[in-house]
Symmetry: C2
DNA sequence: TGCATCCAGATTGTCGACAAACTATGCCGG
DNA sequence: CCGGCATAGTTTGTCGACAATCTGGATGCA
Protein backbone atom coordinates (compact mmCIF):
# COMPACT_ATOMS: atom_id res chain seq x y z
CA UNK A 1 0.00 0.00 0.00
CA UNK A 2 1.37 3.37 -0.99
CA UNK A 3 1.94 5.61 1.96
CA UNK A 4 -0.59 8.38 1.66
CA UNK A 5 1.45 10.67 3.89
CA UNK A 6 4.66 10.41 1.89
CA UNK A 7 3.27 12.83 -0.72
CA UNK A 8 6.30 12.05 -2.97
CA UNK A 9 7.53 15.50 -3.84
CA UNK A 10 8.30 15.85 -7.49
CA UNK A 11 10.95 18.14 -8.93
CA UNK A 12 8.26 20.39 -10.33
CA UNK A 13 6.70 20.79 -6.89
CA UNK A 14 10.10 21.57 -5.48
CA UNK A 15 10.73 24.16 -8.18
CA UNK A 16 7.30 25.63 -7.57
CA UNK A 17 7.90 26.05 -3.86
CA UNK A 18 11.38 27.45 -4.32
CA UNK A 19 10.25 30.00 -6.86
CA UNK A 20 7.22 30.99 -4.88
CA UNK A 21 9.17 31.65 -1.70
CA UNK A 22 11.91 33.36 -3.68
CA UNK A 23 9.35 35.73 -5.13
CA UNK A 24 7.57 36.34 -1.85
CA UNK A 25 10.79 36.94 0.07
CA UNK A 26 11.95 39.37 -2.55
CA UNK A 27 14.98 37.38 -3.74
CA UNK A 28 13.42 37.75 -7.16
CA UNK A 29 12.44 41.40 -7.36
CA UNK A 30 9.28 42.44 -9.19
CA UNK A 31 9.97 43.31 -12.80
CA UNK A 32 13.06 41.14 -13.04
CA UNK A 33 13.48 39.32 -16.31
CA UNK A 34 14.65 35.86 -15.35
CA UNK A 35 16.11 33.32 -17.74
CA UNK A 36 15.14 29.70 -17.57
CA UNK A 37 18.62 28.27 -17.41
CA UNK A 38 19.61 30.79 -14.80
CA UNK A 39 16.88 29.32 -12.66
CA UNK A 40 17.89 25.79 -13.60
CA UNK A 41 21.44 26.30 -12.39
CA UNK A 42 20.23 28.09 -9.29
CA UNK A 43 17.83 25.37 -8.20
CA UNK A 44 19.70 22.35 -9.59
CA UNK A 45 17.08 21.05 -11.95
CA UNK A 46 16.32 20.78 -15.65
CA UNK A 47 14.04 22.81 -17.81
CA UNK A 48 11.22 20.28 -17.97
CA UNK A 49 10.00 20.49 -14.40
CA UNK A 50 10.94 24.13 -14.26
CA UNK A 51 8.63 25.03 -17.12
CA UNK A 52 5.82 23.17 -15.47
CA UNK A 53 6.39 25.18 -12.30
CA UNK A 54 6.53 28.38 -14.31
CA UNK A 55 3.16 27.50 -15.81
CA UNK A 56 1.68 27.16 -12.37
CA UNK A 57 3.18 30.41 -11.13
CA UNK A 58 1.89 32.20 -14.21
CA UNK A 59 -1.58 30.80 -13.66
CA UNK A 60 -1.50 32.11 -10.11
CA UNK A 61 -0.55 35.55 -11.29
CA UNK A 62 2.91 35.73 -9.74
CA UNK A 63 4.65 35.68 -13.09
CA UNK A 64 3.95 37.12 -16.50
CA UNK A 65 5.17 35.37 -19.58
CA UNK A 66 5.52 36.48 -23.16
CA UNK A 67 6.11 33.71 -25.68
CA UNK A 68 9.75 33.49 -26.78
CA UNK A 69 10.48 36.63 -24.79
CA UNK A 70 11.01 35.25 -21.33
CA UNK A 71 9.34 35.42 -17.99
CA UNK A 72 9.42 38.22 -15.45
CA UNK A 73 8.14 38.60 -11.92
CA UNK A 74 4.85 40.43 -11.81
CA UNK A 75 5.07 43.97 -10.54
CA UNK A 76 2.04 44.96 -8.55
CA UNK A 77 1.48 48.68 -8.43
CA UNK A 78 0.49 50.32 -5.18
CA UNK A 79 -2.99 50.98 -6.50
CA UNK A 80 -3.36 47.31 -7.34
CA UNK A 81 -2.24 46.47 -3.82
CA UNK A 82 -5.14 48.54 -2.53
CA UNK A 83 -7.47 46.66 -4.85
CA UNK A 84 -6.16 43.43 -3.37
CA UNK A 85 -7.24 44.62 0.06
CA UNK A 86 -10.69 45.39 -1.24
CA UNK A 87 -10.95 41.78 -2.34
CA UNK A 88 -9.57 40.58 0.98
CA UNK A 89 -12.21 42.62 2.78
CA UNK A 90 -15.16 40.79 1.28
CA UNK A 91 -13.57 37.36 1.07
CA UNK A 92 -12.17 37.28 4.58
CA UNK A 93 -15.40 38.72 5.86
CA UNK A 94 -17.13 35.69 4.40
CA UNK A 95 -14.43 33.44 5.84
CA UNK A 96 -14.94 34.89 9.31
CA UNK A 97 -18.69 34.42 9.08
CA UNK A 98 -18.41 30.81 7.99
CA UNK A 99 -15.68 30.16 10.54
CA UNK A 100 -18.02 31.36 13.27
CA UNK A 101 -20.56 28.83 12.08
CA UNK A 102 -18.25 25.89 11.52
CA UNK A 103 -15.04 26.03 13.52
CA UNK A 104 -14.73 23.39 16.21
CA UNK A 105 -14.37 24.45 19.83
CA UNK A 106 -10.86 23.04 19.76
CA UNK A 107 -9.92 25.20 16.79
CA UNK A 108 -11.28 28.27 18.52
CA UNK A 109 -9.29 27.45 21.63
CA UNK A 110 -6.15 27.09 19.54
CA UNK A 111 -6.90 30.39 17.88
CA UNK A 112 -7.11 32.10 21.26
CA UNK A 113 -3.84 30.51 22.31
CA UNK A 114 -2.26 31.80 19.13
CA UNK A 115 -3.30 35.32 19.98
CA UNK A 116 -1.84 34.98 23.47
CA UNK A 117 1.44 33.91 21.94
CA UNK A 118 1.35 36.91 19.63
CA UNK A 119 0.75 39.21 22.56
CA UNK A 120 3.82 38.07 24.44
CA UNK A 121 5.85 38.42 21.28
CA UNK A 122 4.71 41.96 20.76
CA UNK A 123 5.19 42.89 24.42
CA UNK A 124 8.69 41.55 24.44
CA UNK A 125 9.17 43.64 21.32
CA UNK A 126 11.76 41.35 19.86
CA UNK A 127 11.69 41.36 16.09
CA UNK A 128 8.44 43.22 16.39
CA UNK A 129 7.75 43.74 12.74
CA UNK A 130 8.66 40.26 11.62
CA UNK A 131 6.80 38.40 14.30
CA UNK A 132 3.78 40.62 13.96
CA UNK A 133 3.68 40.01 10.26
CA UNK A 134 3.95 36.25 10.65
CA UNK A 135 1.49 36.27 13.50
CA UNK A 136 -0.98 38.19 11.42
CA UNK A 137 -0.57 35.72 8.61
CA UNK A 138 -1.08 32.83 11.03
CA UNK A 139 -4.30 34.35 12.33
CA UNK A 140 -5.84 34.87 8.93
CA UNK A 141 -4.64 31.47 7.81
CA UNK A 142 -6.50 29.72 10.61
CA UNK A 143 -9.73 31.54 9.88
CA UNK A 144 -9.53 30.79 6.17
CA UNK A 145 -9.17 27.07 6.80
CA UNK A 146 -11.73 27.24 9.59
CA UNK A 147 -14.35 28.41 7.14
CA UNK A 148 -14.54 24.85 5.79
CA UNK A 149 -14.98 26.45 2.40
CA UNK A 150 -12.42 24.65 0.28
CA UNK A 151 -12.35 26.99 -2.65
CA UNK A 152 -12.40 30.08 -0.46
CA UNK A 153 -9.41 28.86 1.53
CA UNK A 154 -7.65 27.91 -1.67
CA UNK A 155 -8.13 31.34 -3.20
CA UNK A 156 -7.03 33.14 -0.06
CA UNK A 157 -4.06 30.96 0.84
CA UNK A 158 -2.99 30.10 -2.66
CA UNK A 159 -3.47 33.39 -4.44
CA UNK A 160 -4.12 36.53 -2.46
CA UNK A 161 -1.85 36.01 0.53
CA UNK A 162 1.21 35.38 -1.61
CA UNK A 163 0.66 38.58 -3.54
CA UNK A 164 0.12 40.55 -0.37
CA UNK A 165 3.20 39.07 1.25
CA UNK A 166 5.25 40.18 -1.72
CA UNK A 167 4.73 43.70 -0.49
CA UNK A 168 4.68 43.07 3.22
CA UNK A 169 8.41 43.61 3.61
CA UNK A 170 8.10 47.03 2.10
CA UNK A 171 5.34 48.20 4.38
CA UNK A 172 6.42 49.93 7.53
CA UNK A 173 4.13 49.07 10.39
CA UNK A 174 3.29 52.34 12.03
CA UNK A 175 4.02 52.50 15.74
CA UNK A 176 1.28 51.12 17.92
CA UNK A 177 -0.47 49.37 15.10
CA UNK A 178 0.50 45.85 16.21
CA UNK A 179 -1.29 46.39 19.52
CA UNK A 180 -4.36 47.77 17.82
CA UNK A 181 -4.39 44.96 15.30
CA UNK A 182 -4.14 42.43 18.10
CA UNK A 183 -7.13 44.01 19.79
CA UNK A 184 -9.10 43.73 16.57
CA UNK A 185 -8.09 40.12 16.29
CA UNK A 186 -9.30 39.43 19.82
CA UNK A 187 -12.69 40.93 19.12
CA UNK A 188 -13.06 38.84 15.98
CA UNK A 189 -12.23 35.68 17.89
CA UNK A 190 -14.73 36.63 20.57
CA UNK A 191 -17.45 36.93 17.96
CA UNK A 192 -16.48 33.57 16.52
CA UNK A 193 -16.50 31.98 19.97
CA UNK A 194 -20.02 33.30 20.47
CA UNK A 195 -20.97 31.86 17.09
CA UNK A 196 -22.02 35.31 15.94
CA UNK A 197 -21.22 35.07 12.26
CA UNK A 198 -22.69 38.40 11.31
CA UNK A 199 -20.58 40.24 13.86
CA UNK A 200 -17.44 38.30 12.96
CA UNK A 201 -17.91 39.29 9.32
CA UNK A 202 -18.41 42.92 10.22
CA UNK A 203 -15.37 43.06 12.48
CA UNK A 204 -13.15 41.30 9.99
CA UNK A 205 -14.16 43.65 7.21
CA UNK A 206 -13.43 46.63 9.42
CA UNK A 207 -10.10 45.13 10.41
CA UNK A 208 -8.95 44.77 6.85
CA UNK A 209 -10.36 48.16 5.98
CA UNK A 210 -8.12 49.64 8.66
CA UNK A 211 -5.12 47.88 7.20
CA UNK A 212 -6.02 49.20 3.76
CA UNK A 213 -6.33 52.75 5.01
CA UNK A 214 -2.97 52.39 6.67
CA UNK A 215 -1.48 51.43 3.32
CA UNK A 216 -3.21 54.30 1.53
CA UNK A 217 -1.75 56.68 4.07
CA UNK A 218 1.71 55.36 3.35
CA UNK A 219 1.13 55.82 -0.35
CA UNK A 220 0.18 59.45 0.19
CA UNK A 221 3.26 59.96 2.29
CA UNK A 222 5.31 58.64 -0.57
CA UNK A 223 6.63 55.68 1.39
CA UNK A 224 5.26 53.39 -1.27
CA UNK A 225 5.78 54.08 -4.93
CA UNK A 226 2.66 54.15 -7.01
CA UNK B 1 8.43 45.54 -34.41
CA UNK B 2 6.68 42.47 -33.10
CA UNK B 3 2.94 42.71 -33.49
CA UNK B 4 1.57 42.98 -29.99
CA UNK B 5 -1.81 41.73 -31.12
CA UNK B 6 -0.55 38.53 -32.70
CA UNK B 7 -0.15 36.96 -29.24
CA UNK B 8 1.65 33.97 -30.81
CA UNK B 9 -0.23 31.04 -29.40
CA UNK B 10 2.03 28.36 -28.10
CA UNK B 11 1.17 24.67 -28.02
CA UNK B 12 0.84 24.80 -24.26
CA UNK B 13 -1.69 27.61 -24.51
CA UNK B 14 -3.58 25.65 -27.10
CA UNK B 15 -3.59 22.57 -24.90
CA UNK B 16 -4.71 24.66 -21.95
CA UNK B 17 -7.66 26.10 -23.82
CA UNK B 18 -8.67 22.76 -25.30
CA UNK B 19 -8.59 21.02 -21.95
CA UNK B 20 -10.38 23.83 -20.18
CA UNK B 21 -13.24 23.90 -22.64
CA UNK B 22 -13.36 20.10 -22.72
CA UNK B 23 -13.76 20.06 -18.96
CA UNK B 24 -16.31 22.85 -18.90
CA UNK B 25 -18.39 21.36 -21.69
CA UNK B 26 -18.38 18.00 -20.00
CA UNK B 27 -16.44 16.11 -22.67
CA UNK B 28 -14.17 15.17 -19.82
CA UNK B 29 -16.50 14.12 -17.04
CA UNK B 30 -15.64 14.86 -13.40
CA UNK B 31 -13.82 11.98 -11.78
CA UNK B 32 -12.41 10.63 -15.02
CA UNK B 33 -8.87 9.35 -14.82
CA UNK B 34 -7.23 10.60 -17.98
CA UNK B 35 -3.91 9.39 -19.33
CA UNK B 36 -1.36 11.80 -20.70
CA UNK B 37 -0.82 10.08 -24.01
CA UNK B 38 -4.52 9.69 -24.51
CA UNK B 39 -4.71 13.44 -24.34
CA UNK B 40 -1.67 13.79 -26.57
CA UNK B 41 -3.24 11.74 -29.33
CA UNK B 42 -6.55 13.50 -28.91
CA UNK B 43 -5.17 17.02 -29.21
CA UNK B 44 -2.25 16.28 -31.54
CA UNK B 45 0.60 17.40 -29.35
CA UNK B 46 3.43 16.00 -27.29
CA UNK B 47 3.75 15.52 -23.56
CA UNK B 48 5.96 18.53 -22.92
CA UNK B 49 3.42 21.27 -23.59
CA UNK B 50 0.67 19.05 -22.30
CA UNK B 51 2.27 18.70 -18.89
CA UNK B 52 2.71 22.44 -18.68
CA UNK B 53 -0.98 22.88 -19.42
CA UNK B 54 -1.85 20.25 -16.84
CA UNK B 55 0.16 22.18 -14.28
CA UNK B 56 -1.86 25.31 -15.00
CA UNK B 57 -5.17 23.48 -14.83
CA UNK B 58 -4.17 21.89 -11.55
CA UNK B 59 -3.20 25.26 -10.13
CA UNK B 60 -6.63 26.57 -11.06
CA UNK B 61 -8.31 23.70 -9.32
CA UNK B 62 -9.87 22.05 -12.36
CA UNK B 63 -7.65 18.98 -12.09
CA UNK B 64 -6.19 16.97 -9.27
CA UNK B 65 -2.93 15.19 -9.71
CA UNK B 66 -1.25 12.48 -7.73
CA UNK B 67 2.41 11.85 -8.54
CA UNK B 68 2.92 8.78 -10.68
CA UNK B 69 -0.76 7.99 -10.39
CA UNK B 70 -2.24 10.16 -13.09
CA UNK B 71 -4.54 13.11 -13.31
CA UNK B 72 -8.30 13.20 -13.00
CA UNK B 73 -10.90 15.89 -13.49
CA UNK B 74 -11.96 17.44 -10.24
CA UNK B 75 -15.37 16.41 -9.04
CA UNK B 76 -17.16 19.23 -7.29
CA UNK B 77 -19.81 18.04 -4.92
CA UNK B 78 -23.15 19.79 -4.79
CA UNK B 79 -22.33 21.21 -1.38
CA UNK B 80 -19.11 22.64 -2.76
CA UNK B 81 -21.11 24.18 -5.60
CA UNK B 82 -23.18 25.99 -3.01
CA UNK B 83 -19.98 27.21 -1.36
CA UNK B 84 -18.90 28.54 -4.73
CA UNK B 85 -22.03 30.65 -4.86
CA UNK B 86 -21.29 32.04 -1.42
CA UNK B 87 -17.98 33.22 -2.74
CA UNK B 88 -19.58 34.62 -5.85
CA UNK B 89 -22.02 36.55 -3.70
CA UNK B 90 -19.38 38.63 -1.95
CA UNK B 91 -16.98 38.93 -4.87
CA UNK B 92 -19.53 39.92 -7.46
CA UNK B 93 -21.10 42.24 -4.97
CA UNK B 94 -17.79 44.01 -4.79
CA UNK B 95 -17.49 43.92 -8.57
CA UNK B 96 -20.89 45.55 -8.97
CA UNK B 97 -20.01 48.27 -6.49
CA UNK B 98 -16.74 49.09 -8.18
CA UNK B 99 -18.36 48.85 -11.60
CA UNK B 100 -20.88 51.48 -10.51
CA UNK B 101 -18.00 53.74 -9.59
CA UNK B 102 -15.79 53.12 -12.59
CA UNK B 103 -17.62 51.93 -15.67
CA UNK B 104 -17.69 54.36 -18.55
CA UNK B 105 -21.01 55.65 -19.84
CA UNK B 106 -20.34 53.78 -23.05
CA UNK B 107 -19.87 50.50 -21.19
CA UNK B 108 -23.10 51.04 -19.31
CA UNK B 109 -24.93 51.72 -22.56
CA UNK B 110 -23.52 48.51 -24.03
CA UNK B 111 -24.60 46.65 -20.93
CA UNK B 112 -28.15 47.89 -21.36
CA UNK B 113 -28.10 46.89 -25.01
CA UNK B 114 -26.94 43.43 -23.99
CA UNK B 115 -29.91 43.06 -21.69
CA UNK B 116 -32.28 44.11 -24.47
CA UNK B 117 -30.80 41.43 -26.68
CA UNK B 118 -31.28 38.90 -23.92
CA UNK B 119 -34.88 39.89 -23.53
CA UNK B 120 -35.73 39.30 -27.17
CA UNK B 121 -33.94 35.96 -27.00
CA UNK B 122 -35.95 34.90 -23.99
CA UNK B 123 -39.24 36.15 -25.47
CA UNK B 124 -38.67 34.31 -28.69
CA UNK B 125 -37.96 31.34 -26.47
CA UNK B 126 -35.58 29.76 -28.93
CA UNK B 127 -32.89 27.76 -27.21
CA UNK B 128 -34.08 29.33 -24.02
CA UNK B 129 -31.81 27.51 -21.62
CA UNK B 130 -28.67 27.86 -23.67
CA UNK B 131 -29.06 31.50 -24.55
CA UNK B 132 -30.10 32.37 -21.05
CA UNK B 133 -27.04 30.65 -19.66
CA UNK B 134 -24.72 32.39 -22.10
CA UNK B 135 -26.49 35.68 -21.63
CA UNK B 136 -26.13 35.40 -17.90
CA UNK B 137 -22.45 34.66 -18.29
CA UNK B 138 -22.06 37.66 -20.60
CA UNK B 139 -23.71 39.95 -18.10
CA UNK B 140 -21.53 38.93 -15.20
CA UNK B 141 -18.49 38.99 -17.41
CA UNK B 142 -19.03 42.63 -18.31
CA UNK B 143 -19.47 43.69 -14.74
CA UNK B 144 -16.36 41.84 -13.62
CA UNK B 145 -14.22 43.61 -16.19
CA UNK B 146 -16.04 46.87 -15.57
CA UNK B 147 -14.88 46.84 -11.97
CA UNK B 148 -11.41 47.82 -13.19
CA UNK B 149 -10.10 45.54 -10.47
CA UNK B 150 -7.61 43.39 -12.32
CA UNK B 151 -7.20 40.67 -9.76
CA UNK B 152 -10.90 40.52 -9.00
CA UNK B 153 -11.75 40.04 -12.66
CA UNK B 154 -9.00 37.49 -12.99
CA UNK B 155 -10.28 35.44 -10.09
CA UNK B 156 -13.87 35.58 -11.27
CA UNK B 157 -13.27 34.97 -14.96
CA UNK B 158 -10.30 32.66 -14.62
CA UNK B 159 -11.34 30.55 -11.65
CA UNK B 160 -14.87 30.70 -10.37
CA UNK B 161 -16.83 30.97 -13.59
CA UNK B 162 -15.19 27.91 -15.10
CA UNK B 163 -16.04 25.81 -12.10
CA UNK B 164 -19.61 27.08 -12.07
CA UNK B 165 -20.01 26.45 -15.78
CA UNK B 166 -18.88 22.87 -15.26
CA UNK B 167 -22.20 22.35 -13.52
CA UNK B 168 -24.36 24.71 -15.51
CA UNK B 169 -25.35 22.08 -18.04
CA UNK B 170 -26.70 19.92 -15.24
CA UNK B 171 -28.82 22.62 -13.70
CA UNK B 172 -32.35 22.81 -14.93
CA UNK B 173 -33.53 26.37 -15.07
CA UNK B 174 -36.90 26.41 -13.40
CA UNK B 175 -39.70 27.85 -15.47
CA UNK B 176 -40.05 31.60 -15.29
CA UNK B 177 -36.64 32.09 -13.74
CA UNK B 178 -35.06 33.61 -16.86
CA UNK B 179 -37.58 36.44 -16.78
CA UNK B 180 -37.06 37.04 -13.13
CA UNK B 181 -33.27 36.92 -13.51
CA UNK B 182 -33.49 39.44 -16.33
CA UNK B 183 -35.49 41.75 -14.12
CA UNK B 184 -32.83 41.48 -11.44
CA UNK B 185 -30.18 42.23 -14.03
CA UNK B 186 -32.05 45.34 -15.12
CA UNK B 187 -32.26 46.68 -11.62
CA UNK B 188 -28.56 46.14 -11.10
CA UNK B 189 -27.76 48.02 -14.28
CA UNK B 190 -30.04 50.85 -13.21
CA UNK B 191 -28.15 51.17 -9.96
CA UNK B 192 -24.87 51.19 -11.85
CA UNK B 193 -26.18 53.83 -14.26
CA UNK B 194 -27.11 55.99 -11.29
CA UNK B 195 -23.62 55.45 -9.89
CA UNK B 196 -25.12 54.01 -6.74
CA UNK B 197 -22.44 51.51 -5.79
CA UNK B 198 -23.98 50.54 -2.49
CA UNK B 199 -27.28 49.64 -4.09
CA UNK B 200 -25.61 47.80 -6.96
CA UNK B 201 -23.71 45.68 -4.46
CA UNK B 202 -26.85 44.90 -2.51
CA UNK B 203 -28.84 43.94 -5.57
CA UNK B 204 -26.07 41.80 -7.00
CA UNK B 205 -25.68 39.92 -3.73
CA UNK B 206 -29.39 39.29 -3.59
CA UNK B 207 -29.38 38.18 -7.21
CA UNK B 208 -26.73 35.55 -6.62
CA UNK B 209 -28.38 34.53 -3.39
CA UNK B 210 -31.53 33.78 -5.34
CA UNK B 211 -29.56 31.65 -7.76
CA UNK B 212 -27.99 29.79 -4.86
CA UNK B 213 -31.33 29.12 -3.25
CA UNK B 214 -32.58 27.82 -6.56
CA UNK B 215 -29.71 25.36 -6.63
CA UNK B 216 -30.28 24.31 -3.04
CA UNK B 217 -33.89 23.61 -3.90
CA UNK B 218 -32.83 21.37 -6.74
CA UNK B 219 -30.50 19.54 -4.40
CA UNK B 220 -33.31 18.88 -1.98
CA UNK B 221 -35.47 17.63 -4.82
CA UNK B 222 -32.73 15.20 -5.71
CA UNK B 223 -32.16 16.70 -9.13
CA UNK B 224 -28.56 17.25 -8.25
CA UNK B 225 -26.50 14.53 -6.62
CA UNK B 226 -24.76 15.52 -3.45
C1' DT C 1 -12.11 -19.19 0.78
C1' DG C 2 -9.76 -15.03 1.98
C1' DC C 3 -5.66 -12.31 2.29
C1' DA C 4 -1.04 -10.93 1.51
C1' DT C 5 2.73 -10.95 -1.82
C1' DC C 6 4.92 -10.63 -6.06
C1' DC C 7 5.42 -9.73 -10.83
C1' DA C 8 4.39 -7.76 -15.35
C1' DG C 9 2.63 -4.05 -17.89
C1' DA C 10 1.67 0.51 -18.47
C1' DT C 11 2.12 5.23 -17.08
C1' DT C 12 4.40 9.08 -15.21
C1' DG C 13 8.63 11.92 -14.07
C1' DT C 14 12.89 13.38 -15.93
C1' DC C 15 16.45 14.41 -19.10
C1' DG C 16 19.17 16.06 -23.17
C1' DA C 17 19.04 17.85 -27.94
C1' DC C 18 16.99 20.24 -32.07
C1' DA C 19 14.39 23.98 -34.25
C1' DA C 20 11.96 28.47 -34.07
C1' DA C 21 11.62 33.04 -32.38
C1' DC C 22 13.16 37.23 -30.11
C1' DT C 23 17.00 40.72 -28.64
C1' DA C 24 20.89 43.31 -29.47
C1' DT C 25 24.68 44.83 -31.97
C1' DG C 26 26.61 46.81 -35.99
C1' DC C 27 25.98 48.69 -40.63
C1' DC C 28 24.01 51.42 -44.25
C1' DG C 29 21.32 55.22 -46.14
C1' DG C 30 19.22 59.75 -45.67
C1' DC D 1 24.01 62.70 -36.67
C1' DC D 2 19.85 59.86 -36.55
C1' DG D 3 16.70 56.22 -38.00
C1' DG D 4 15.83 51.79 -40.19
C1' DC D 5 17.48 47.22 -41.42
C1' DA D 6 20.05 42.99 -41.62
C1' DT D 7 22.56 39.63 -39.05
C1' DA D 8 24.58 36.98 -35.13
C1' DG D 9 23.73 35.22 -30.67
C1' DT D 10 21.03 33.84 -27.12
C1' DT D 11 16.81 32.19 -25.26
C1' DT D 12 12.59 29.85 -25.59
C1' DG D 13 9.37 26.19 -27.47
C1' DT D 14 9.15 21.51 -28.78
C1' DC D 15 10.30 16.82 -29.34
C1' DG D 16 11.69 11.91 -28.50
C1' DA D 17 13.80 8.53 -25.29
C1' DC D 18 15.19 6.60 -20.68
C1' DA D 19 14.39 5.56 -15.81
C1' DA D 20 11.43 5.40 -11.65
C1' DT D 21 6.97 4.44 -9.87
C1' DC D 22 2.18 2.91 -9.50
C1' DT D 23 -1.84 -0.30 -10.80
C1' DG D 24 -3.94 -4.81 -11.57
C1' DG D 25 -3.90 -9.58 -11.84
C1' DA D 26 -2.09 -13.97 -10.76
C1' DT D 27 -0.01 -16.87 -7.33
C1' DG D 28 0.97 -19.01 -2.90
C1' DC D 29 -0.20 -19.65 1.90
C1' DA D 30 -3.04 -19.73 6.15
Amino acid sequence: MPDITSQTYTRADEAFDCLQTAIVKGDLAPGDKIGELDLCSRFELTRGPLREALGRLESRGLLVRRPHAGVKVVSVSASELVELYRIREVMEGLAARQAAERMTDQEIADLKATLDAHETMIDEARGQAYYQAEGDYDFHHRIATGSRNTKLAQMLLGDLYYMVRMYRYRLSTSAGRPHRALGEHRRIVEAIAQRDGELAEFLMKRHINAARENIEKQIEEGVLTV
